[in-house]
C-alpha cells in the first residue's frame, strides 16, 4: 500500500536519461548555419532579397498556422520548422521575383509539401523544393530572370518587379543578367572560380557565395546536424561524373570543370541544406550513399542535357521519391544475423 508520507511516485519506464539535443534545438542549428548565406543574400541583392525572404517565411508560417488543428497549433509551430522551410525556399528564389509569388511559394511549400502529408516528419519531398518546383512550373519567366549581384551601396534599391501587384508578372527590363550556369550552357563562357567562391555573380539570392555556404555546411557537419555521407557522395559523384564528361569530350569542348560543377548554381545550397533534410533522405548509412550518388549523377546529367541550366532541384526531388525504397533495401545487417 502506498503510504501517505510517500511522494507521489511516477512509473515512467526507463531510460530516464536523455541526451540534451532536442528537435527544436536541431532546427536552431540549421537557422544558425544559414545565417552566413542569408547575410550574403542581403549584401549582394539588397533590401529586395530581404523582402523576398520575409514574404516566403510569412507565407510558410501563416499556412502552417491556418492548416494546423487549433489545439495543436502552438506545439506544432514551436519547432520553427515552417519558418525554416520558408527561409530555404526564399534563398532559392531569384532577386527580382515579385513578392506575392514568394508568398505563394512559401504557402505551397508548407501546404502541399508538408501539412497534407501529416506535418513534420511525414512528408516525402523536401517542402522548400516542392514550393520552388511549383513556382518554376507556374512562373517560368519570373523564376529565370536574374538580377546582377550588387554591393552594399545598392542596398536600398528594390527591383520594380519585386513590388508587382498580386497576379501581375512585373517588368524585368532592367534585369537580364545570366547566371554562371546559364553562361556556361548557352554562351559557353566560364565564370572565374573566385567569383563563384565569393558570390558576386547572378543567381538565386542564397546560392551565390560558395564560401559562406561551406561555412554553414561545415558547422552543421560538426554539430552532427546533417549526415556526412550525403554531401560526400554528392561531391564525389558530381565531380567525377563531370570530370569524366570533360575528358571524354576533350578539354576545349566547353564542358564544365569539376570545380565549376561544385561551386556553381544551387549545388552547395541544395547539398548542405536540402538533400540532407533528414525527413526526406534515407535513414540507413548505405542508403545515404546511394541517395547522394543519385543526386550527384542526376544534377550533372540534367545540367548537361536539360532545357534549363540548373538541375539540383529535380535531382533532389527525384531522389526524395526513391527514399522509401532505398531505405527498404538497405537495412543494416543486424548484430548476430547473416544478412
Amino acid at each position: 500500500m502506498m503510504n501517505n508520507k510517500d511522494p507521489k511516485l511516477l512509473l515512467q519506464s526507463a531510460p530516464l536519461l536523455r541526451q540534451e539535443l532536442t528537435t527544436p534545438a536541431a532546427m536552431k542549428d540549421v537557422w544558425i548555419a544559414l545565417l552566413p548565406a542569408t547575410a550574403a543574400a542581403l549584401w549582394f541583392f539588397g533590401l529586395g532579397a530581404l523582402l523576398i525572404l520575409i514574404t516566403s517565411i510569412a507565407g510558410a508560417v501563416l499556412t502552417e498556422w491556418v492548416f494546423t488543428d487549433k489545439d495543436k497549433r502552438r506545439f506544432a509551430m514551436s519547432d520553427t520548422s515552417a519558418g525554416l522551410t520558408g527561409l530555404l525556399l526564399g534563398l532559392t528564389l531569384p532577386p527580382g521575383l515579385p513578392l506575392w509569388m514568394a508568398f505563394l511559394g512559401g504557402s505551397v511549400s508548407i501546404g502541399l509539401g508538408k501539412v497534407i502529408w501529416g506535418g513534420l516528419g511525414s512528408n516525402l519531398f523536401n517542402p522548400a523544393l516542392l514550393g520552388r518546383a511549383f513556382l518554376l512550373g507556374t512562373f517560368p519567366i519570373a523564376m529565370t530572370t536574374w538580377g546582377a549581384a550588387g554591393g552594399p551601396g545598392d542596398f536600398f534599391q528594390i527591383h520594380s518587379s519585386n513590388l508587382a501587384w498580386p497576379f501581375m508578372q512585373g517588368q524585368y527590363d532592367a534585369l537580364s543578367t545570366a547566371t554562371p550556369l546559364g553562361l556556361m550552357k548557352f554562351e559557353h563562357e566560364t565564370t572565374a572560380l573566385s567569383s563563384l567562391f565569393l558570390g558576386n555573380t547572378a543567381g538565386s539570392i542564397g546560392e551565390t557565395s560558395s564560401l559562406l555556404l561551406l561555412f554553414g555546411g561545415v558547422f552543421l557537419l560538426f554539430r552532427r546536424g546533417i549526415e556526412w555521407r550525403i554531401p560526400a557522395a554528392i561531391f564525389l559523384t558530381a565531380s567525377l561524373f563531370s570530370l569524366a564528361m570533360l575528358l571524354i569530350n576533350g578539354a576545349d569542348s566547353n564542358y564544365p570543370s569539376p570545380l565549376f560543377t561544385l561551386f556553381s548554381g544551387g549545388l552547395l545550397l541544395g547539398t548542405f541544406f536540402m538533400a540532407t533534410d533528414p525527413v526526406t533522405s534515407p535513414l540507413t548509412p548505405k542508403g545515404c550513399w546511394i541517395f547522394g550518388i543519385g543526386i550527384g549523377f542526376l544534377v550533372v546529367l540534367i545540367r548537361l542535357y536539360g532545357g534549363l541550366p540548373e538541375g539540383m532541384l529535380y535531382a533532389i526531388l527525384l531522389m526524395n521519391a526513391a527514399t522509401p525504397l532505398i531505405d527498404r533495401y538497405t537495412q543494416p545487417k543486424i548484430f548476430g544475423r547473416k544478412s
Binding site: 511516485l9 526507463a14 536523455r18 527544436p24 535513414l283 537495412q331 543486424i334 548484430f335
Partner: protein, 458 residues
C-alpha cells in the same frame, strides 16, 4: 564527450585500437556520488519479505509454514524443477505469514514474511551440511550445490546461475568472461566489490574456471573504474592467468553480446547462447557470491545495492539482506528528498520503476535510484524527423525509428517479420539518443509483449 566535436562517432576506430563494440551511446556516468563510498552494512530491521518468484523461471516452493522458527541462512523454499532456485532466510526469526505481498512492480506475488528475532545476534553460523569442498566436487554436485545456494545472476537479470553452468555434453566452455563493465550510470556496487574484495573476485574466477573447465578467464572493466582495475591487478598472480581487460566507456558495454564482441571480437549469432560459442559470462557480483558460498557456506541472503540519484539524501553502497523493505533501506540513508518523483530499481537506462516502497530488495536489485522532476519531465514528444541517431545508437543495428513508427500503428507482425523486433534487448540506447523524446523502447516492449502473448495463444 564534447557535444560539438564528436568525430569519433563519424569514423569508428578499428577494433585493435579500441576494445569495444560498434554503435552505442555515451550517457554521463553519474558515478561520482557513490564511487568512493565504502560498502556499509544496513542494520537489521523487524520484517522481511521473500517473494518466492524473484528469479527467472519457476517460483520456489516454501518448505516452512507460518510460526516456524528459522535461522539466518536456513533454507525456506526449495527449487521447483530445474529452472528454479532456492531461497534462504535473510534473518533469524519467525515465519509470520506466507501469502500475497506487493511486489516491486505493484503486482501481488506469493511471498514468505519473516519477523526478525530482536534478541538474535544475527551471526551467520556455517552449518555442517553446507561446508563443502568445492575442489573435490563433480560437475553434477557443483550444479546441485549452486542451485541450493540460491545464487542467481546478480547483474540484474536474476537468472539461476546453475542453469548457466549446466553445459550439454557435446559443448565445451573455453572462456570464462567476468562482467565488471558496470555500464549503467549511477551504479557502483560492482565497482566497490572489485575495489574492496578483489581477492574474492579472483578466487571466484578460479573456482568457476575449474568447474567449467575453461582455459582462459577475462574480467572486463570499463576504463572509468581505474581503481577497480588496479586493485584486481594488485591481487593477481601470474599463475592465476586471468586477463583484466579495460574496456571503452560506452553504453551498453556490459550487455552480454557487446561484452563478447569487445573482448573476443566475436558476434554471438542471434538466438544462440554464449555457451554455444564456448563462453560463459558471469557478473562480478555472482562470482563473489559463489566464492562466499563455497568458502564460507553462505547462501545468497544478502547483496550489494547502490543507493543514489538526485532524490536521495545520503547516497551509499550498502550490503542489504535480501527481503529488506525498500523503505527501510531508504530510511537508513536519510530517506527520500521531497522533490523525488520516481524511484527506480536497477540503473537509469534499463531499470524498472518501483510502484511500492514497501516491496523488498530482491536478489536482482543492483541499485535503488531516486529521481526528481529534472529527470522525469523531459521535453515534450516531437514527431520523428528521421535523424537516424537511434540507428547509430543501436548496438544490434536494428532500425528503432521504423520500429517506433510501426509500434505506434500497432503493426506488430511487420515489426517482427521485417525489422526483427525480437532481437532487441531493450537497452534503451535509441531512446536516450532520440532528440524528439519518442519513447521508442516502450513501443518495442509493447510489441514484444503482444507478439509473445499471441504466440502463447495460438
Amino acid at each position: 564527450m564534447s557535444k560539438l566535436f564528436s568525430l569519433s562517432s563519424l569514423f569508428s576506430l578499428p577494433f585493435a585500437l579500441n576494445r569495444s563494440f560498434s554503435h552505442g551511446v555515451h550517457p554521463p556516468h553519474h558515478k561520482d556520488q557513490t564511487a568512493d563510498l565504502p560498502i556499509q552494512r544496513v542494520p537489521f530491521v523487524s520484517r522481511y519479505i521473500m517473494p518466492l518468484g524473484q528469479h527467472i523461471g519457476v517460483p520456489a516452493e516454501a518448505v516452512v509454514k507460518t510460526g516456524d522458527l528459522v535461522k539466518r541462512g536456513e533454507l525456506i523454499a526449495r527449487p521447483k524443477g530445474f529452472i528454479s532456485t532456492a531461497l534462504h532466510s535473510p534473518v533469524t526469526g519467525k515465519i509470520s505469514a506466507i501469502g500475497m505481498h506487493r511486489y516491486v512492480d505493484g503486482s501481488f506475488r506469493q511471498a514468505i514474511e519473516i519477523e526478525a528475532d530482536p534478541y538474535a545476534t544475527q551471526q551467520f553460523v556455517q552449518s555442517k551440511k553446507n561446508s563443502l569442498n568445492v575442489e573435490d566436487m563433480s560437475s553434477e554436485q557443483f550444479i546441485d550445490a549452486v542451485q541450493m545456494s540460491g545464487i542467481v545472476g546478480l547483474g540484474g537479470a536474476a537468472f539461476p546461475s546453475h542453469v548457466k553452468y549446466s553445459i550439454p555434453d557435446e559443448q565445451r566452455i573455453t572462456d570464462l568472461l567476468v562482467n565488471g563493465a558496470e555500464c549503467e550510470p549511477y551504479l557502483t556496487n560492482d565497482h566497490r566489490l572489485m575495489v574492496e574484495r578483489p581477492e574474492v573476485v579472483l578466487r571466484g574466477c578460479m573456482i568457476l574456471r575449474k568447474q567449467l573447465g575453461a582455459k582462459r578467464v577475462a574480467i572486463g572493466v570499463e576504463k572509468n573504474k581505474p581503481e577497480s582495475i588496479s586493485q584486481l591487478k594488485k591481487y593477481l598472480t601470474a599463475e592465476m592467468a586471468i586477463d583484466i581487460v579495460p574496456l571503452e566507456v560506452k553504453y551498453p558495454q556490459g550487455a552480454e553480446k557487446m561484452l563478447i564482441k569487445s573482448i573476443y571480437n566475436k558476434e554471438l549469432p542471434a538466438g544462440k547462447l554464449p555457451r554455444d560459442i564456448g563462453i560463459a559470462v558471469n557478473n562480478v557480483g555472482t562470482i563473489v557470491a559463489l566464492a562466499d558460498y563455497f568458502d564460507h557456506g553462505m547462501p545468497l541472503i544478502e547483496r550489494i545495492v547502490t543507493l543514489a540519484g538526485p532524490g536521495v539524501h545520503e547516497p551509499a553502497n550498502l550490503i542489504v539482506p535480501i527481503g529488506t523493505p525498500i523503505r527501510d533501506v531508504l530510511d537508513f540513508a536519510g530517506g527520500l528528498k521531497e522533490q523525488t518523483r520516481e524511484v527506480i530499481s536497477g540503473g537509469p537506462m534499463m531499470g524498472s520503476p518501483i510502484a511500492d516502497l514497501d516491496a523488498p530488495i530482491l536478489k536482482g536489485t543492483s541499485g535503488i535510484l531516486a529521481f526528481t522532476e529534472n529527470e522525469t519531465s523531459g521535453p515534450p514528444e516531437y514527431p520523428c524527423i528521421r535523424c537516424a541517431r537511434c540507428l547509430e545508437a543501436c548496438p544490434y543495428f536494428l532500425n528503432p525509428s521504423r520500429l517506433a513508427l510501426l509500434g505506434k500503428a500497432r503493426l506488430f507482425e511487420d515489426m517482427q517479420d521485417k525489422y526483427n523486433v525480437m532481437d532487441c534487448v531493450e537497452c534503451g540506447a535509441c531512446t536516450y539518443a532520440c532528440p524528439s523524446n519518442i519513447p521508442i523502447v516502450q513501443h518495442i516492449r509493447t510489441a514484444k509483449d503482444n507478439l509473445r502473448n499471441r504466440k502463447v495463444e495460438s
